[in-house]
Subunit: 177 residues, 2 copies
Amino acid sequence: MISAREQRDAQADTAEQLAAAGVALTHEERAEIEVADFGLGRLREVGLQLLVYVNTDRYCAKELVLYPGQTCPEHRHPPFEGTPGKEETFRCRRGTVYLYVEGEPTRAPTCDYPGPHGAAHEIALGPGGQHTIPPNTLHWFQAGPEGAVVSEFSSTSRDELDVFTDPTIERAPAVGD
Amino acid sequence: MISAREQRDAQADTAEQLAAAGVALTHEERAEIEVADFGLGRLREVGLQLLVYVNTDRYCAKELVLYPGQTCPEHRHPPFEGTPGKEETFRCRRGTVYLYVEGEPTRAPTCDYPGPHGAAHEIALGPGGQHTIPPNTLHWFQAGPEGAVVSEFSSTSRDELDVFTDPTIERAPAVGD
């Protein structure tokens, strides 16, 4: 659980990274930036900052922001309400993000993650790079040394349904004092 | 119909506007920028430049780029394949876009468009402003004096099905010499 102060600091850092990527936010949106530490209490190492632009019953768009070397731990988006689950496209806007997906394991991968994971096929995305992840498939990602700003375009998002490989993870954002 | 040279020039201008908005493109994407003059042959006044990032059978994301004062003429996205038609969210990244949608007509609207149109409810979007347009409803838009870069997040896009209020318009891109 992160403190309210940690959350505010992370929101400010995220707004700054988004501004550097040319993304203008409204005053209300700054306060809506979500800070997820996945219940592990090590935000700078394992976590994700995000802003949801829109999430209708048909599509969703977000900006994902990562600190240098920060990891979003392995998960999949399971089927729900008769759909095959969330399909998502990552497009890197700034920095570098290393995405690990199911498939042939990459020899000598760039990143390591000291938690349970299985997806080992590396896809490195720099500015302008993009990749689409099929529904219900395992993936995790880590930012390079400059951090990363990544646009996510997808079908409807239901973050609370995400299934994490690490059973100790809780996706629901938890903020305390 | 625009010439191949007009198309190349518009693609270069569009890549420049996108770069100014912080949007990095790959070399391949520069060549994929679509230039639509709607068959009217007056691109700078009536037209639209766009880059499709992704268009799956579930969602779509594009960047729309407009010259100063350029208008995308009135149209709607009709139902298809059992769906209610394309639902779309515009998010302004740079410049200003004046969006006209169905609803209470705005008194003294900012823009005029010398072609057939009915939607008269004005929504002005500056950087960080966004608006969602329901499927199958009329809308048109015009850029302010600096032009505009607008991200479009939507359900699946089928541009060729768009229904324009002006019966002389053809949506399909046509390029000649």
